[in-house]
């Protein structure tokens, strides 16, 4: 990849790399802030696995925000990660019925409001993805595999035609369209149910 030779030192460069899907940027970012978050979690009655989960969740929040292209970092990246991780862990503790008191030094310049918004977005997306997974499970075969192959595993229509043994790609596309319509119905019916 392009960036592999570049030294990714600044937050901005790292974020650009992350948005572009650079493995090196992700790896560097991961290394940079992992100790901070794992310390936060482990010192607040969490395990190493909890720390890993929370950190990865935090990075997902960051990644999805960066990918959306509307990310404005109005504090240090470190502050953002810490604030998000702290809130996520707090929520996790509350869900486990533990004391919601957490000992962590809050950064002064933490933009609490925008982070709250980010987390609300994240939670909404989480919910949608859960419903998506549920709907896909309900969809049954071969629709599920077909859609996953096309949209998630990015197989070409040609490959799908061959894999599923359709006579031609048009046939496969029709099948995909039918599947998508069913998925839509499943997804939005459950979406309404929960609302």
């Amino acid at each position: 990849m392009r960036e592999t030779t570049r030294l990714l030192s600044t937050d901005e460069a790292l974020l650009i790399g992350l948005a572009e899907g650079s493995d090196r940027a992700l790896s560097q970012l991961y290394r940079q802030h992992y100790p901070m978050v794992s310390q936060l979690v482990i010192n607040n009655s969490g395990s190493a696995d909890d720390a890993q989960d929370i950190y990865q969740e935090t990075l997902i929040v960051l990644f999805e925000k960066v990918s959306a292209g509307d990310f404005e970092l109005n504090c240090q990246l470190k502050t953002f990660i810490y604030a998000v991780a702290r809130r996520l862990w707090l929520k996790q503790l509350a869900q486990r019925g533990r004391s919601p008191l957490i000992r962590a030094n809050q950064f002064d310049e933490e933009p609490a409001e925008s982070i709250a918004d980010d987390l609300a977005d994240h939670q909404r997306r989480d919910q949608q993805f859960d419903q998506m997974a549920e709907s896909l499970a309900k969809l049954g075969e071969p629709c599920r595999t077909l859609l996953e192959d096309f949209y998630i595993r990015h197989l070409s229509m040609q490959a799908i035609t061959e894999k599923f043994g359709y006579t031609n790609t048009d046939n496969a596309k029709t099948q995909k369209y039918k599947c998508l319509t069913r998925l839509k119905r499943l997804f939005f019916s459950s979406y309404k149910d929960t609302e």
Binding site: D23, Y30, I60, E64, L180
Partner: protein, 332 residues
């Protein structure tokens, strides 16, 4: 069908796909970094845990402490006010009589007594109670609260003869005092006391009677033993349903046969008919603790033979009244 514009569900599916992909990527990165041991182990701060715990729970603890302090003080204040409103003195009235009120009746007494009553004329006694002889040789028992803080103690027989008494022993804990009048030259040894002393605990419902001096004359009262314990469960005393008045303190409490089973000490003001009497067994213990020096050579041996067992009550009283004295105490 194959239109350029994508449906929202397609966007969502793709976003979902990206999320799964990124999650996998993160796992891979983590494994890779861990394998290369590039992930620094977090520093666990064990010492900070106590401090952090304190910081986390400080407010809770502060509230708890405040509540505890307030509860403590409220309890103390309530207890104080309870005590004040139910003062023991008010509830537990010692049956001594202040003598100011009886000064008028002294004239009669003085007429009968040549010279011996003069002492009352000069300085009327301040408190009075009852007492009764333990031995014919002049040892008698009364309540400590009558004689405590006294300058001088006199006893007056039913006939009106006054003797100077010496305090041989006092037991403030059980409110007992032993007096001796044997040294007074006017005192002549009496026939042996007609009653005996019953140290064994008496049964509830035992018919009891007492003689005492709530006024200048000897007064008889009778009742029954109502409880084996005294005020607030005091095991050294009986509760007796008998009507007593100030001045009855120190009087004997006798059962039907004429055995002394206790010494009247007090009554509960707040309830009717609850009088308390120190048990004879306590008296016997007190007698044993008297040092021989205090007795000045006179032996203090109690009468064991009850000569009143078969007497009627009227005869018992007649026999007894010579042995029950009025105790008059002078204080500054």
């Amino acid at each position: 069908m194959d239109a350029g514009e994508k449906e929202p569900i397609e966007n969502m599916l793709q976003a979902y796909g990206r999320r799964l992909e990124f999650r996998d990527k993160l796992k891979r990165v983590h494994q890779q970094l861990e394998a290369d041991s590039l992930l620094a182990a977090p520093v666990v701060e064990p010492r900070a845990q106590v401090r952090a715990w304190w910081q986390a729970h400080r407010s809770t603890l502060a509230i708890a402490a405040a509540v505890a302090i307030m509860t403590t003080f409220a309890t103390i204040i309530l207890y104080r006010s309870y005590q004040n409103s139910h003062k023991q003195e008010q509830q537990y009235g010692m049956m001594m009589r202040t003598m100011g009120v009886i000064q008028q009746t002294q004239n009669k007494l003085l007429n009968n007594l040549s010279g011996r009553g003069r002492v009352f004329q000069q300085n009327p006694g301040q408190v009075a109670g009852s007492g009764f002889l333990l031995t014919a040789s002049g040892f008698m028992v009364t309540n400590n609260h009558i004689v405590q803080g006294s300058d001088s103690v006199y006893v007056q027989s039913q006939q009106g003869v006054v003797y100077k008494a010496r305090i041989v022993h006092s037991d403030p804990q059980h409110d007992l005092a032993i007096l001796a009048i044997g040294q007074d030259t006017a005192f002549h040894a009496l026939p042996p006391v007609p009653y005996s002393f019953e140290a064994r605990p008496s049964e509830l419902g035992e018919r009891v009677f007492t003689l005492g001096y709530p006024r200048e004359e000897i007064v008889y009262g009778e009742g029954y033993l109502s409880s084996g314990t005294g005020f607030r469960g005091d095991s050294a005393a009986y509760q007796v349903a008998i009507s007593v008045n100030p001045g009855n303190s120190g009087g004997p409490l006798l059962d039907e046969k004429g055995n002394v089973i206790g010494i009247i000490t007090a009554k509960q003001i707040t309830s009717e008919g609850a009088t308390f009497a120190v048990k004879t067994s306590i008296l016997l213990n007190a007698l044993q603790s008297i040092s021989p020096d205090s007795l000045k050579g006179d032996p203090l041996t109690l009468n064991r033979k009850n000569r009143m067992v078969r007497f009627s009550r009227k005869q018992q009283i007649k026999q007894m009244q010579n042995y029950v004295y009025q105790v008059k105490v002078f204080k500054h």
